[in-house]
């Protein structure tokens, strides 16, 4: 099981979402982040001039893929949509995941579950 962490341009993220939906990848989590890459930064205006900010708004998308073989497909889909070919298109990282639980599917264990401290060594 892997977590694909994609950091993309915020203006591309709607498209990425839709593209992944088409591929059947539904579950994912989005975070507003800022980032610094090799990109020089963005120029902003103040009242009398300009200044450069090297930290740029990005959108982080975390997608946990149960089936490892799906990872390349996810990466490809994201890249295809998010790529403009310019600096700042973003990165994708893949991190291993050891376990995944869907909270709504979780069932409490029968009564002994109360003494949680003890039964942790299974």
């Amino acid at each position: 099981m892997k977590m694909v962490i994609a950091i993309v341009r915020p203006e591309k993220y709607d498209e990425v979402k839709d593209a992944l939906k088409e591929k059947g990848v539904l579950g994912m989590t989005f975070t507003h982040v800022t980032g610094r890459g090799l990109q020089a930064g963005v120029r902003f205006t103040n009242r009398v001039g300009e200044f450069t900010v090297d930290e740029i708004e990005k959108m982080k998308i975390e997608i946990v893929v149960e089936d490892d073989s799906q990872v390349p497909c996810v990466i490809e889909t994201v890249c295809r949509v998010a790529k403009t070919g310019h600096h700042g298109d973003g990165r994708i990282f893949v991190v291993p995941v050891e376990q995944a639980v869907r909270i709504s599917d979780w069932e409490p264990e029968p009564e002994p579950a109360e003494e949680t401290g003890d039964q942790t060594e299974q």
Binding site: P10, E11, D14, E15, E50
Partner: protein, 433 residues
Amino acid sequence: MKKSFILAAAVAVLAVFAAAAVLGSQDSAAAPGAGDTGSISWIMVSSVLVFAMVPGIAMFYGGMLRRQSMSSIIAQTLAAIAIMSISWVVVGYSLAFGSDAAVIGNLQHLFFGGLTEEASDGGISSLQFATFQMMFAIVTAALIIGACAERIRFNAMVWFLIVWSVLVYAPMAHWVWGGGWFDQYLTVLDFAGGTVVHICAGVSGLALCIFAGPRLAGTRKARAHSIPFAFLGAALLWIGWFGFNGGSSGAADEVAVHAFFTTQIAGACGMAAWAVAQYLTVGRVGVLGLIAGAISGLVAITPGAAYVGFAESMLIGAVGGVLCFMAVRLIRSKTKFDDALDVFGVHGIGGIWGAISTGIFAKSSLSGVDGLIYGGVDLFVGQIVAVAVTLVFCFAVSYAIIWVISKFMTVRISDDEEAIGQDIVEHGEPAYL
């Protein structure tokens, strides 16, 4: 291209001051006169209130868009203030109120030259009247911006407003209030600007929005980014409306109080009616619906504020709320126009209903002319003709202006730029950190 426009601008500015230097001497001296201080006070207050609507519009519109367009809407509204103020002083007022010619005024009041500063006969001076009217010009221009929000380049908008202020707004004001052909050939009542301000803004906005085409699907379906700002803007609009309608009698008298009261109650009824309509249709009501309803009611009462009775004003407001609700639903679902902030749906339709309802409910004891329910047909017909002319004229000329501008510069931002948002692309100034 860019350079040449800057040059043009610089030349224009110089020309302006050159002309001004000559004309400046026309300023009449401000000798202490014996006007009615109560009315002078109230019209100054009303001017302030109308001016306060402008930031209201910026917050109201901006709050309902994506956060990436907030600075852009504000910048465009500010540009409208500068452009309309200057244009009105330089030439607009003179074109609108310079003479009684049927089509357009003259140039005798360029740079406000020759205006009287002395108030007389318990009225206000023409300087004060011109200043009050200036605020209306600004509000109308600012209203337009909402229809074509998130698409039109700042520079194009600036040039559009400059030309529009002369070719569309000044003639409209002249026809309705300045003694133009509406006054001469029709029986028309427009107390505080149903045609000049609301229909005109709604239709001009529609022209821009049709010319520019719709926004990207993603931008279009975005949620309002700040309900409190939208609310605050709507509150400023409502507050300003008391000056807008209340000041339109030009004095602090019974007429002003009557208009003041009908404004309040029509706004409240518009809000209540929209809320009920939305509740029955959607099953719940939210802030955006409530404020849209209030504005619909306020727009609807504008042309007849001083001319209709109390119960009628409640009815006009309530029907305005329901009508605009249905209009906005219809436009959104049935047409392809991307009127981003329902400027036509609310101000256009509300203004049309307001003008017609004035023709229906006007009472001769208040307005001097009878509306349809009192057997007066002239007024009713006159109102409908006025509405039709306004619709056609404002749409056609606005469309022509933006079409001409598009020959000189890019009018619409590109899709890529739209996705990033005008705040960053055009102004380099994200609204929030």
